[in-house]
Amino acid sequence: MSTQEQATGNLTLVQAVRDGLYGEMERDEDVIVLGEDVGRNGGVFRATQGLYDEFGEDRVIDTPLAESGIVGTSVGMAAYGLRPVPEIQFMGFIYPAFDQIISHAARLRTRSRGRFSCPLVVRAPYGGGIRAPEHHSESKEAFFVHEPGLKVVIPSTPRDTKGLLASAIRDPDPVIFLEPKLIYRAFREEVPDETYTVPLGEAATRREGEDVSVFTWGAMTRPTLEAAESLAEEGIECDVVDLRTLSPLDEDAIIESFKRTGRACVVHEAPKTGGLAGEITATIQEEALLYQEAPIERVTGFDTPFPLYALEDYYLPEAARIEDGIRRAYEF
């Protein structure tokens, strides 16, 4: 490891989660963290490491093993003025809490005509590629994007992670904050020590190009950029847009990019059918049909349950598959 990589503030994505939580807890004493193994153990991925010692057992709470309980009590706490940040250990275990998220967190503001709100952030590591057992690799962001009243955020870099998490915690509405665990420790980035926010609902252009727009997020951003670099060697220049927030979508960024290129490819690791690529495609067709020069390509996971790890590399879009998709959009 070089000296620079060890420098203060040079963090991995999971360290940025921890740094973001620390900053917000220090800034606002209503922010509390709760979940399974988040306290003494510091989280199974170490996302809450050291918070228990720093803030104590009333603010970093090891709960019983009960996902609906964790989120359902967080709904009550949020309604009562706290800013709970419940952790669901893996996205594949979020379903027991689904009812509380959908029926209550998302609806409390509407149900009470704004007299109550539910400012909580449900954090969950999502996605495949870590050689994990069944139910540990899910990427089901579309379930939550489909629900009015929720916001859905997926960072792809350490710097964004800290800033987006701060925005999510300060947001007056419930946020589902999905962390790409495949790249929890894949690379480091300079992250400011002080707290800062990256606004929700704003995409980030990771690479500029005039030939094909490529829309992606989370763990898929890296193989997408890899594919884009490889295509650049052939003279195909991709405009790679990392959406960062999936609800609300940054439609302006999508349309602006597409109007320049007229061609698009959407990359996500979730299954194809009912996935966000369909929504993005429809949005482009509604807003920019006359700019369109080729069918919009979707490079996604297959419509199968997420496989055990012997076959997960075939399931997950990798650079070669993404490259093919972009090339199809380019060559049409």
Binding site: G72, S74, G81, R113, G114, P248, L249
Partner: protein
């Protein structure tokens, strides 16, 4: 024997079916005005309920969940709340909410399909929860947050016998015990979860005994005896706010009672239960029981009862008139309060609805 520390199968009772004080029972310390007030609130809840059902039958209100038979549990428990306490209802607590100060017209407004009926905050009443048992977790979370803020207030959460079979009931009570939060779980065991009898919910002899598994007291009370309900709830709320040495704050109260009517106006109970059973439970009706007791105490006579009946009828009629005169919500209101700030798509959809209305007019659009 203490009110709460007892065998969960040993029901707390104050009045017998004829309104006489049960041997050895302590009548709770309520002044004359409070006792007559409880009686009036029960009469009002019953009359409101009857009017609400007929409003639904006449097409003036949507599906409505009746409460007749459950007035003793609702009024007795809500009367025990201190001003700073909170009430976390299911969807049937119209009587308890009224005691808490929720205007009848607001309750009607909600059941007439207008969310503004839920537009309450200052009364410490949480919005109605329609899914079963989900509010048990909210009550635990509210109480937990209050405790973390260093307050001393209690949270009274209502649910039915069916709710005790749900996972959220278990998780809510389990968290409450582990984190020792100031919540009181009030189970309105009205014997029927729509068509499924209490015996089909659990093989346990009582619902109250489930508290034992969470480490705190569970107590069964005659839910059609308002004085017993008041006494038990009062004690449980006190313990939640200020537990004694070695006491855990939460309590599970099982109020044994009966729903005289249907689950909702969309339900026909004659399909699943016998009239004879209904008649048997009607002998326990909480209203004549308290009436007899108050008569005996010299706090009520025919004249005073007539006056109460008249004032209750007037109050309910006024509330119905008010509710029916509320303006319908503006169509665009569906887009408000989904988020604190309306996102672009919702703004666009709100505009789209407005344009549709302009182009077609409401009459054609809604045909």
């Amino acid at each position: 024997m203490s009110t709460l520390q007892r065998d969960p199968g040993e029901q707390v009772r104050v009045l017998d079916e004829d309104g006489r004080v049960v041997d050895g029972a302590t009548v709770p310390d309520l002044d004359d005005e409070e006792l007559v007030g409880m009686y009036r609130n029960m009469r009002l809840a019953r009359h409101f309920d009857q009017r609400a059902v007929s409003l639904q039958r006449q097409g003036r209100m949507g599906t409505y969940p009746p409460l007749s038979g459950q007035e003793g549990a609702q009024v007795g428990s809500a009367t025990a709340l201190a001003e700073e306490d909170w009430l976390v209802p299911s969807y049937r607590e119209h009587g308890a909410s009224y005691v808490r100060g929720v205007p009848l017209a607001q309750t009607l407004r909600y059941w007439m399909g207008d969310e503004r009926g839920n537009e309450l905050r200052e009364l410490n009443v949480f919005p109605v929860a329609v899914p079963i048992a989900t509010q048990v977790l909210h009550a635990t979370g509210l109480a937990w947050a209050s405790k973390l803020k260093g307050e001393e207030r209690a949270f009274l959460c209502y649910f039915g016998d069916g709710a005790t079979s749900e996972g959220d009931f278990h998780e809510g009570l389990n968290f409450a015990g582990v984190f020792d939060v100031p919540s009181v779980f009030f189970c309105n065991n009205n014997q029927w979860a729509i068509s499924v009898p209490r015996e089909r919910q659990t093989a346990a002899a009582t619902l109250a005994q489930k508290a034992v598994a969470y480490g705190f007291e569970g107590v069964q009370v005659d839910g059609m005896d308002p004085l017993a309900v008041y006494r038990v709830t009062r004690e449980a709320l006190r313990k939640a706010r200020d537990p004694g040495e070695g006491e855990l704050r939460p309590t599970l109260i099982e109020a044994v009672q009966y729903r005289f009517g249907a689950h909702t106006t969309a339900d026909d109970p004659s399909v699943y239960r016998e009239d004879e059973e209904v008649e048997r439970w009607k002998r326990k009706d909480p209203i004549p029981r308290l009436e007899s007791y108050l008569y005996e105490q010299g706090l009520l006579d025919d004249e005073r009862i007539d006056a109460i009946v008249t004032s209750v009828e007037e109050e309910v009629a006024d509330a119905i008139e008010t509710a029916e005169q509320f303006e319908r919500p503006e169509p665009g209101a569906v887009f408000e309060h989904v988020y604190a700030e309306m996102p672009r798509r919702l703004r666009e959809q709100a505009r789209e609805l407005e344009q549709l209305r302009e182009r077609h007019g409401d009459e054609e659009l809604l045909e």
